[in-house]
């Protein structure tokens, strides 16, 4: 009799646990959908759909060994065609160097040898802590799946803290941890992890700008977590959504504007 009662109790307990787990999963799936919506909104707002975008970028790299280096870059983006061009204005030693991306291809132009060479979005930008991929539109919802999330606080901002895992190997980092504001879906901080879950880089986005229908960071700070004291700050200015002539996204233009 006692055994029967125990068995029934175990079955009921098991059913409750299964039911509870199911409910938790259902709630989780629902919440993931909410977070997924937020990520899609983040991606959409970081993209200049049918328009163009141009800006002046000031990249300041702080390296305990090399000191402080400043690079000034003029950036042109045409997201609907998956194109961008970046032209380095300063320092003088790198003036005239440029990047041209068209779809899956990215070329680097070096005026000192007058050569275009294939490069990768995963490469670092001008030996800074920024990657070439940091200058393109975000695609978190497309490239990653949500594995977990919690609610938290960052400064005075209420945020969702979201863990993401990459869906393919085209991305620079396979695992991400995002801090997204609950109020207006702005990404404030991203921790980027290697395959072995080692923290590689932290990205901070302390201020944003609304340019046309898009919302993009005005300031980005990339902290190298493996090299103490090494970080890169990128500040955007002169942001414009005026139409950009087609010829800007050609090699001829990169050659034309270099020294």
């Amino acid at each position: 009799m006692r055994n029967t009662i125990c068995l029934r109790a175990a079955v009921v307990l098991g059913m409750l646990l299964v039911l509870g787990g199911g409910l938790q999963s259902a709630a989780g799936a629902e919440d993931f959908a909410h977070i997924e919506t937020i990520l899609r909104e983040v991606d959409t707002r970081s993209t200049f759909g049918d328009g163009d975008f141009a800006a002046l970028l000031t990249v300041i790299t702080e390296d305990p060994e090399k000191g402080v280096e400043q690079t000034v870059v003029r950036q042109f983006r045409r997201d609907r065609e998956d194109q961008f061009a970046m032209l380095i204005q300063e320092p003088r030693v790198q003036r005239g160097q440029g990047y041209l991306m068209d779809g899956e291809n990215l070329w680097f132009y070096d005026p000192s040898s007058r050569q275009f060479s294939h490069t990768s979005l995963k490469e670092t930008f001008q030996d800074s802590d920024a990657r070439n991929s940091d200058f393109t539109a975000w695609s978190y919802a497309e490239d990653y799946e949500i594995t977990e999330y919690t609610e938290g606080q960052l400064g005075v901002n209420s945020v969702y803290i979201v863990l993401l895992a990459a869906l393919h190997d085209e991305v620079t980092y396979p695992y991400l941890k995002l801090w997204v504001t609950q109020e207006n879906a702005l990404i404030l901080k991203v921790e980027e992890y290697s395959l072995t879950q080692r923290l590689m880089r932290t990205a901070l986005f302390p201020s944003y700008a609304r340019v046309g229908d898009s919302v993009i960071p005005r300031q980005m700070v990339f902290v190298d977590e493996l090299a103490e004291g090494q970080r890169t700050q990128i500040a955007f200015s002169e942001m414009s959504v005026q139409p950009i002539p087609d010829y800007v996204f050609t090699r001829a233009y990169l050659e034309q504007v270099n020294r």
Binding site: S207, V215, T250
Partner: protein, 432 residues
């Protein structure tokens, strides 16, 4: 007098640059303190509306701008080579060099560009040497068709150490300095760019003793997926016609790969051959010649930045080389050179199979030292050279370095006649 004037100019330029750099450094330090504050998220996030009316595209080609600049370098070097070495410079030497350019845009569609080098070397003859590298005019038709006329550097092929497809550059690609600016031809270039393809047409001038020779060289490059293809041709009445194919791509987004193939209806070279009578003579080849090359380039950095490695490698099949280069060791061979039946250019890359591999380890184990090495070899005669150099990041644009070049192979092989050479020096370089 000219020498002292040049030296004064070089010293004044370097002082100016140091002062400018000092000012920029202080400004940057101040800016850094403002930018990297710890309390980044202390205030509620605000989204600021921005909409600049700046026309970035035309700003960069604004008419009336004149840009002057260049770089200045001083090298102090000590060289030691074995007594039987053919190295021309032994002991201590100093070289001062300046590259200057002027870039003037009289209108948005027009640009004049001049670039040249000045060099002074001790204990050489002490004469100031000058070289005009580029002088050209750019203009365009409604930003659709682009023209460049004058002496211009041209990158025709995609090879790194060897580029058989580049038949129009005047300067040879030096495997020891593959990224250096090469002397180009005098040409009119017409460039018609489209999104997925580019068309170039070169008309080349070459002044010969008996007048100007013209050549034409069209090239079409296009992109499929992650690969860029190039198809080109070269025709000059007194040279063999050539057709070429190039490709460049990336593997897994991290390894750059490239290849070239050139087919020529004969060769412009002349060859030493032993006739049926046993006598040595020079002759031409008129059969189809193939040259081809494949290579890669990759840069990797481990998470701890202990190993920041760059590597490049290339194989070159030189169909225009000798199948059996032992004929170059024939006792009568020097007579062919002395009589002019063979020119020195006919002896360039005499083998059929070549290889090159370079490795660069930057900031060794996160120190201020970097190391580079290069292997360059003729696979036919099993000769080659291995160069290794270590350098320090230095102080205030002054970099110390030291290295060794070791040559191997038989005495009559392409690289075998040189012997080990040691160098150490200081290099000062600054851009202004």
């Amino acid at each position: 007098m000219v020498r002292w004037a040049a030296l004064t100019l070089l010293v004044a330029a370097s002082l100016l640059v140091v002062l400018v750099e000092l000012d920029v450094g202080l400004a940057q330090a101040s800016e850094r303190d403002e930018l990297f504050g710890d309390d980044l998220f202390g205030d509620e996030m605000l989204v600021i509306d921005e909409d600049s009316q700046a026309d970035h595209a035309t700003l960069l080609i604004a008419p009336g701008s004149l840009d002057l600049g260049g770089r200045f370098g001083l090298d102090w070097e000590w060289t030691h080579a074995d007594a039987d070495s053919l190295v021309s410079r032994q002991g201590a030497s100093a070289v001062g060099s300046t590259r200057l350019y002027a870039d003037w845009r009289p209108s948005a569609a027009t640009r004049l560009f001049v670039q040249g080098d000045l060099e002074l070397e001790y204990p050489d003859d002490g004469h100031l040497k000058g070289r005009l590298l580029e002088w050209f005019v750019d203009w365009n038709a409604s930003q659709k068709v682009f023209f460049r006329t004058g002496k211009q550097t041209v990158r025709w092929g995609v090879g790194y150490f060897f580029s058989p497809a580049d038949v129009i550059s005047v300067g040879r690609l030096d495997p020891e300095e593959p990224e250096a600016l090469r002397e180009g031809p005098i040409a009119l270039r017409v460039h018609y760019p489209q999104r997925h393809w580019d068309f170039h047409l070169f008309t080349l001038w070459d002044e010969a003793d008996d007048g100007v020779r013209l050549a034409v060289a069209p090239r079409l490059t296009f992109v499929t997926g992650r690969t860029e293809w190039g198809l080109g041709a070269f025709y000059r009445p007194d040279r063999v016609p050539r057709a070429m194919l190039t490709l460049s791509s990336t593997i897994a987004g991290t390894v750059a790969v490239f290849g070239e193939a050139v087919v020529a209806a004969g060769t412009d070279r002349r060859y030493a051959v032993v006739g049926e009578d046993g006598r040595l003579r020079a002759e031409s080849r008129e059969d189809l010649q193939l040259q081809a090359s494949v290579g890669f380039r990759v840069n990797r950095r481990d998470p701890d930045r202990l190993f920041t490695i760059g590597a490049a490698g290339q194989y070159f099949y030189n169909g225009e080389g000798y199948k059996d280069a032992s004929v170059l060791g024939h006792p009568a061979f020097p007579l062919l050179l002395l009589s002019g039946e063979l020119a020195p250019a006919d002896l360039s890359q005499p083998g059929r199979h070549y290889g090159a591999l370079s490795l660069q380890w930057s900031e060794l184990l996160r120190t201020r030292f970097s190391a580079t090495s290069l292997w360059l070899g003729n696979l036919d005669d099993a000769s080659g050279q291995v160069t290794a150099q270590i350098s320090h990041r230095g102080w205030n644009d002054i970099r110390p370095y030291a290295g060794v070049s070791w040559y191997y192979g038989d005495d009559m092989a392409e690289f075998g006649f040189s012997s080990t050479q040691w160098v150490a020096g200081l290099r000062y370089s600054v851009t202004f």
